[in-house]
Subunit: 118 residues, 2 copies
């Protein structure tokens, strides 16, 4: 997982634990690809202040992941759910009765629900 | 969800954010059904101290759930995964080819993995 992608996910999980300012800065940098200089200009503060906020915000995100490990847990589940979806799509359901076909459809929707909630 | 059960689950998610002492006391009370008096005797501290630790510990757990909502998210996923498992078990797979039968078995294992990781 690359750093930018991972921090984006960590923000989904733990972003509410950051200050509003940290959240804004990390969001601009990691989700919207702003450079530190661009954020500094946008917010009218020094580049160093942006750097410090990013450093502190990242440290908080990684600290909580280290303690709670929820991103890792969710990532494993998502991987498994995607595998299940592939298996479902590979089943030749022609010979199933209607109730069976309907169940396969509902299972697929259910797995998609799980993936999208992760 | 009753209070005791809910706090047990919140401890699974956020327990690492409690102090060691809070965790020990909440674990004795909520997971092992010790009364406040029994914990006080066990740890050699006042009943009031136990009460305060439980109150503070619970407040931390609910504060993080209020901010992060992970228990709610996981609970919805688990409910959906259990539904999927029921649907799977209801499918008459006799008419599926061997590869289809094998896939249904693997899907069932995958869903059980997701449920157990939640």
């Amino acid at each position: 997982m690359n750093d930018v992608f991972e921090i984006g996910l960590l923000m989904d999980f733990y972003g509410q634990l950051l200050t509003e300012k940290q959240m804004e800065i990390l969001d601009l940098h990691y989700n919207n690809d702003y450079s530190l200089g661009e954020i500094a200009e946008e917010l009218g503060v020094s580049r160093q202040a942006i750097h410090d906020n990013i450093k502190r915000g990242k440290a908080i995100l990684y600290e909580f992941e280290q303690k709670l490990g929820l991103l890792q847990k969710f990532t494993e589940q998502k991987r498994k759910a995607v595998e299940i979806l592939e298996l479902l799509k590979g089943i030749n359901i022609d010979k199933l009765d209607n109730s069976g076909k309907e169940s396969i459809g509902k299972i697929q929707e259910g797995v998609e629900f799980i993936i999208n909630r992760i």
